[in-house]
C-alpha cells in the first residue's frame, strides 16, 4: 500500500467520522430537549417533522441564516476565532477514539494523553470569547470557566491514572483490550465517580454549569454571540459531552467490548453504552440545581482531589503487592 492509498483511506475515515459526529451532535440537542421535556411532563419539539425529528436541522438552518453580530467594541479577530477554538479541539479528539474493534481513525501510543491535551485547549476558546466580547458578564463567565476547567482537568486526568495503571498503556485500543477480564469500573469505582463528576464540570453541565449560568450571568461567555458563532459553541458543548462519554466508556466500561454471551457487534455495544452515558448527563440536567462557585472549588479540591490521590496510591499498592 503506497502513501496515496493510505492517505485516501485516512481521508475517507476522517470524513465519515466527522459527518457522523456532527449529525449525532446535532441530534443530541434534539434528544436532550425531548428527554428533558418528558421528564418535565411536556412534549418537547413536535412541529418540524414527525415528533419534531427535523428540529435540529431547522435550528441549524435558522442559526446559519441569522445575522452575524460582532459587537463594535469587541476585539474582532479574537472574537471570530474563539468559537472555532472551542469547536476544533472537540472534533480533533475523535481522531484517536476507538469506535469498534477495527474502526478508528488512528491509534497512537499516547492516545489518552493526546485526548487530555487536546481537550484542554477548549478553555482557550472560552477565555478568548469572554475577553473579546468586552462585556462584564462574559468576562465573569470566562474567569469562572477558566478556573473551573483548569481545576477539573486535574481531577479528570488524575482519575484516569488508576485505570491506566491497570491497563499499562496509553493506547485507547489497548486499554479496551485490557478490560477483557472485567471492566475497570468494578476495580476502580472511586476513579469512576471522580471521573464522572469532573467530566460534568469539564463539559459545563449541570450541576456545574456556572460559566454559562443563564440566570446569573445571562449565558456567561457566549452572551454576545449570535448566529453561526453561537451554534459553534452549542455544538462544541455537545461534542465535548460525546468525547468525555466516549473516554468514560472506553476507560471504565470496556469501550466496544460487550458482555460475554450476548453476540452483538462491537459498534452496537459502543453506541449502547454511549447512549446510556449521555442519557445520564441529560437526566442530571433535569434534576439538579447549580452549585455555587466557591462550593464547586471546595468540592473539587477538598473532596475529589484527596479521593483521587488515595485511589492512585491504593491502585499502586495493590498492583505492587498482588499483580
Amino acid at each position: 500500500m503506497n502513501i496515496a492509498t493510505e492517505a485516501l483511506i485516512a481521508f475517507i475515515k476522517i470524513a465519515v467520522v466527522l459527518l457522523v459526529v456532527s449529525l449525532v451532535v446535532a441530534y443530541l440537542t434534539y434528544l436532550e430537549r425531548k428527554i428533558i421535556a418528558h421528564i418535565q411532563m411536556r412534549m418537547g419539539p413536535m412541529r418540524v417533522g414527525w415528533h419534531g425529528l427535523l428540529q435540529p436541522i431547522a435550528d441549524g438552518l435558522k442559526l446559519f441564516l441569522k445575522e452575524d453580530i460582532i459587537p463594535s467594541k469587541s476585539d474582532k479577530v479574537v472574537f471570530v476565532l474563539a468559537p472555532i477554538m472551542v469547536l476544533v479541539p472537540a472534533f480533533v479528539v475523535y481522531s484517536v477514539l476507538p469506535f469498534s474493534e477495527n474502526f478508528y481513525i488512528t491509534q497512537v501510543n499516547i492516545g489518552l494523553f493526546l485526548i487530555l491535551a487536546i481537550s484542554s485547549l477548549g478553555v482557550f476558546g472560552v477565555v478568548m470569547a469572554g475577553w473579546a466580547s468586552n462585556s462584564k458578564y462574559s468576562l465573569l463567565g470566562a474567569l469562572r470557566s477558566a478556573a473551573q476547567m483548569l481545576s477539573y482537568e486535574i481531577f479528570l486526568g488524575f482519575a484516569l491514572i488508576g485505570p491506566l495503571m491497570l491497563a499499562g498503556s496509553l493506547n485507547m485500543q489497548k486499554i479496551v483490550e485490557a478490560q477483557s477480564g472485567g471492566w475497570f469500573v468494578f476495580s476502580q469505582p472511586l476513579a469512576f465517580i471522580v471521573f464522572f463528576i469532573a467530566a460534568l464540570a469539564e463539559t459545563n453541565r449541570v450541576p456545574f454549569d456556572l460559566p454559562e449560568a443563564e440566570t446569573e450571568l445571562v449565558s456567561g461567555f457566549h452572551t454576545e454571540y449570535s448566529g453561526m458563532k453561537f451554534a459553534f459553541f452549542f455544538l462544541a458543548e455537545y461534542a465535548n459531552i460525546m468525547v468525555v462519554s466516549t473516554v468514560g466508556i472506553t476507560l471504565f466500561f470496556g469501550g466496544w467490548m460487550g458482555i460475554p454471551g450476548i453476540p452483538l457487534p462491537g459498534f452496537v455495544w459502543f453506541v449502547l453504552k454511549l447512549a446510556t452515558m449521555i442519557f445520564v448527563f441529560i437526566w442530571l440536567r433535569a434534576t439538579l440545581p447549580r452549585y455555587r462557585y466557591d462550593q464547586l472549588m471546595r468540592v473539587g479540591w477538598k473532596f475529589m482531589f484527596p479521593l483521587v490521590l488515595i485511589n492512585i496510591f491504593l491502585t499502586g499498592l495493590i498492583k505492587y503487592l498482588f499483580l
Partner: protein
C-alpha cells in the same frame, strides 16, 4: 425634580471605581431580577461588596390614578399591582373600602373570598418556587410548578372569566356566585395538590446542592426583619410569628383553622420551607372553606354611588408576599382624595442590601428569588 437628578448622578458616580472592583449592572433586562429590577453590584472577584437597587422601571402611577376614579373602578387597577396573585389585591382593596361602611358582607361571599385568596396564594407561591428553583438551576421544578399554577388559573377562569387579572370581587361581596363547576374543580385540585407538593419536595428539600445553596445564605435575624418592616414569609422565616390572617382576621379567616408556619434561621432555606408549608396550609384552608361553604347571597345591598364618609383608613391583608395595605383618605366624594399602597415587595426589597453584601454573585440571584418580589407592586 432636583432631588431625582441628584440621586441619578450619585448612582453614576458610584460606578467609577478602583482597580479591583468590578461594577456589574444587573438588570433591568436580566433573567433573574424577576421583572425590571435593576441592581448595581459592586463585585470584588465574585464577592459582593456593595449593592444598589434601582427601581421604578414599571412605575405606572397607580396611586395617582386611584385619586381620579371611583372606588369600584379602581378594583381592576389593583389586579395589576401584584399580578401574580391578582385576587388577593382585589380583596385588600374591597375590604379596605368596606371598612368605611358598616355593610353586612354575606358569609358565603366571605368564604369564597378566603378560598380565592388562598388560591391566589397557591398561584403566587408556585410561581415563586418555579422561578426561584430555576434561578438556582433546577429547571424541572419550574415546569412542574407551572403545571399546577395552570390549574389554579383555570379555576380563576371558571369563576371570574379572567386568568391573570381577574377583577374578582366587588364592593359588598361578589359580582355573582361562583359556578358549581368551580367547586368541583377546586375539590379536584386540592385532592391532587398535596402529592404534587411532595413531588417538588422530593426534588429540592433534601437535595444536597439545594441545601448548600440555600442554608445560611441571605440570613436576617428576627429583630432585623422587624426593623426593616419585612412581612410575609420573609418575616416568618426569621422566627417572627406574625400573620395578618391571625393578627387582624378578615373575610372568613376567623372561622378557619390553620397553622402559621415559622422558620428559625431566617435564611433562604427557611423561607423555602415556610412557603412550602404555607402551600399545605392553603390546601387545608380551602378544604375547610369547601366543607363549610354556606348557601345564601353573595352580595349585600350597596348604594349605587359609593361615597364613603370623610375620613381616612388603613387596612392591610396578608398577601402571598406579605402585608399588602391600602391607606385611603376620603373627602366624601365619589373618588378618593388620596390612595396610598403599602406593597410588600417594595418594603421587603429594602432588605436586599443587608441580605446580599458579603455574599457571592450567585447568592444575589438566590436572595432576590427568595424575597419573592413583583415589580408591578414594587414600582406601583
Amino acid at each position: 425634580m432636583y432631588e431625582i437628578e441628584e440621586t441619578k448622578s450619585e448612582i453614576q458616580t458610584k460606578t467609577v471605581t478602583g482597580a479591583d472592583e468590578l461594577v456589574v449592572n444587573m438588570g433591568p433586562q436580566h433573567p433573574s431580577t424577576h421583572g425590571v429590577l435593576r441592581v448595581i453590584l459592586h463585585l470584588d472577584g465574585e464577592t459582593v461588596t456593595d449593592l444598589d437597587c434601582d427601581i421604578g422601571y414599571l412605575h405606572r402611577g397607580t396611586e395617582k390614578i386611584g385619586e381620579n376614579i371611583t372606588y369600584s373602578m379602581f378594583i381592576p387597577y389593583t389586579d395589576r399591582l401584584d399580578y401574580i396573585a391578582a385576587p388577593s389585591n382585589n380583596l385588600a382593596w374591597v375590604t379596605a373600602v368596606e371598612k368605611f361602611f358598616d355593610w353586612e358582607i354575606p358569609i358565603r361571599a366571605n368564604y369564597i373570598r378566603s378560598m380565592v385568596g388562598e388560591f391566589s396564594r397557591i398561584a403566587s407561591h408556585l410561581l415563586w418556587l418555579a422561578t426561584h428553583a430555576l434561578d438556582i438551576g433546577a429547571m424541572t421544578v419550574f415546569l412542574w410548578c407551572f403545571r399546577e399554577r395552570e390549574m389554579v388559573l383555570d379555576l380563576f377562569e371558571t369563576a371570574f372569566g379572567g386568568r391573570l387579572t381577574v377583577n374578582a370581587f366587588r364592593l359588598g361581596g361578589l359580582e355573582q356566585d361562583v359556578p358549581a363547576k368551580f367547586l368541583t374543580l377546586a375539590q379536584e385540585f386540592i385532592d391532587i395538590f398535596p402529592s404534587r407538593i411532595q413531588d417538588y419536595e422530593t426534588l429540592l428539600t433534601n437535595n444536597r446542592i439545594w441545601l448548600q445553596r440555600t442554608r445560611g445564605v441571605g440570613v436576617i435575624s428576627g429583630e432585623d426583619a422587624v426593623d426593616f418592616g419585612l412581612s410575609g414569609p420573609l418575616l416568618r422565616a426569621s422566627g417572627v410569628n406574625y400573620d395578618l390572617r391571625r393578627a387582624k382576621p378578615y373575610a372568613a379567616y376567623p372561622y378557619l383553622d390553620f397553622v402559621v408556619p415559622t422558620g428559625e434561621n431566617g435564611d433562604i432555606y427557611d423561607r423555602y420551607i415556610v412557603r412550602i408549608e404555607e402551600l399545605r396550609q392553603s390546601v387545608k384552608i380551602i378544604q375547610q372553606c369547601l366543607e363549610q361553604l354556606p348557601d345564601g347571597p353573595v352580595s349585600c345591598k350597596t348604594p349605587r354611588t359609593i361615597k364613603p364618609p370623610v375620613g381616612e383608613i388603613y387596612h392591610s391583608i396578608e398577601n402571598p408576599k406579605g402585608e399588602f395595605g391600602f391607606y385611603i383618605v376620603s373627602d366624601g366624594s365619589e373618588t378618593p382624595y388620596r390612595v396610598r399602597i403599602r406593597p410588600p415587595s417594595f418594603v421587603n426589597l429594602a432588605a436586599l442590601k443587608k441580605l446580599c453584601v458579603g455574599g457571592l454573585l450567585a447568592d444575589v440571584v438566590a436572595v432576590i428569588g427568595s424575597i419573592d418580589i413583583v415589580l408591578g407592586e414594587c414600582d406601583r
